[in-house]
Subunit: 262 residues, 2 copies
């Protein structure tokens, strides 16, 4: 055995790749992504506590750039650390004890070197909560969109079904979205009644900027009777944002989970 | 019939006394009561929208001065208005449409001239929510106290039972409370398991400053095994605040309702 071969056998790996599942209440943050201006964001809050725990500066890579006021139950991020000693459970506890109560690292697991929270993702699931009871739900302030006028749930459901499949969703994207292709696949778009709430659950292989909020804004217009469900087909075919509804408030939106193969 | 008598028959009442039931998420407010410094408070938020609706400046009298971060499902206030035209339902809608989503006037009713939200009250019910699941409940940020270590619920219950009755609660009051008498009657003090929560429900004819939060702080110390339930008796007998537990966070506390005779 050559010295080099012996070395490569004995060498511990130079770094570990860690996958974090993160929940947060986005109300007090300017979205997930670190901002140049130093505004509080979820990524910045987590990155700022890591150096004292891991012993070196760290960048975390998130799967989804949630906007200001948008929440997450299962945001995923990964980070590389040269700290080979700290166990995942201990790291999770150390991070959480230093974070504010509106951010929680739910789990940390060691993953393959090539795992990337965003590039390895095969899809995401979002949930949008519409509170439909007449009384303003003060205890859910920032967590739901309060819409108390009657909604035709069946009309919303048939509109939602037309979104399922592979389509060009440009008409549902806020126009500043500059991504190359606006073709995405929606696997599931359900309108679910849950107590005093109507929830729109949307699972897809990817989403354009504001796409879920524009879908919800359109479904609400259909539910209140301004448009027929067929409006969804017109928006998809024309790819014309001006035919779709307003962008629904961020409050009701949550990134439920990020999907990966295997 | 004299002219004076005729006048008193024909005159409409000079003013109406209105009773408001109000819910709020106290997270963003410096308590109920208007502050000299102009800090945002719930009373100030409501008083500030009233002149444009009623046509004259208004002071509202609240039943309970909830502290910063404390919530309400059923705070009660009354106000006198010279506006004899506006119906209660219309007033309620007009106020709510001008308030932020974390405050809601639940009802407005016309009451007798001598009704006073605070002085007419015969009691209040508070609820304190302790979230006991291990994972930090980010969606309930500001709404609950997260205590994830094991709690002996039976010990807490037997301690809570000792609080029921007429006692001098000075040992459970924050010492800055200068009220004449510290004798109060607790009608009910229950420790209720509700899903991932332990709720302390406390009903009494009145509460000293921080009294519910000091009771909860003491019950938690008993639940975690630091003290025996009998500690409650020692605190009541000694009237010594230093024997009681820490003041629990405001987050978990909510004024559920205010009681009146009849």
């Amino acid at each position: 055995m050559t010295a080099a071969a012996r070395e490569s056998v004995q060498d511990p790996p130079a770094r570990r790749n860690l996958k974090l599942v993160i929940a947060y209440d986005g109300s007090r943050y300017h979205g997930w992504q670190r901002q140049a201006a130093g505004l509080p964001t979820v990524q910045q809050q987590i990155e700022d506590v890591l150096p004292r725990i891991l012993g070196h500066p760290v960048t975390i890579f998130g799967a989804g750039r949630t906007d200001a006021g948008v929440h997450a139950e299962g945001q995923v991020a990964n980070l590389y650390t040269r700290n080979l000693a700290i166990p995942c459970q201990g790291l999770r506890r150390a991070i959480n004890s230093r974070l504010s109560g509106d951010i929680a690292v739910r789990s940390i697991t060691e993953v393959a070197e090539d795992f990337h929270a965003s590039r390895s993702a095969t899809g995401k699931t979002y949930r949008y909560r519409i509170h439909t009871a007449p009384l303003r739900p003060v205890g859910l302030f920032g967590q739901v969109y309060h819409f108390w006028r009657p909604l035709d749930v069946e009309a919303m459901r048939s509109a939602a079904r037309m979104l399922v499949g592979r389509h060009d969703f440009r008409g549902f994207a806020t126009t500043s979205d500059q991504r190359r292709t606006s073709v995405r696949t929606i696997f599931r778009c359900d309108v679910v009644e849950a107590g005093s709430e109507l929830q729109v659950i949307c699972q897809g292989d990817g989403f354009l900027y504001n796409m879920v909020r524009n879908i919800v804004g359109t479904l609400v217009e259909i539910g209140r009777g301004r448009w027929q469900p067929q409006q969804v087909r017109r928006i998809l075919e024309s790819r014309d944002r001006s035919l779709a509804g307003p962008t629904a408030l961020p409050d009701g939106l949550s990134l439920v989970c990020v999907h990966y193969d295997g």
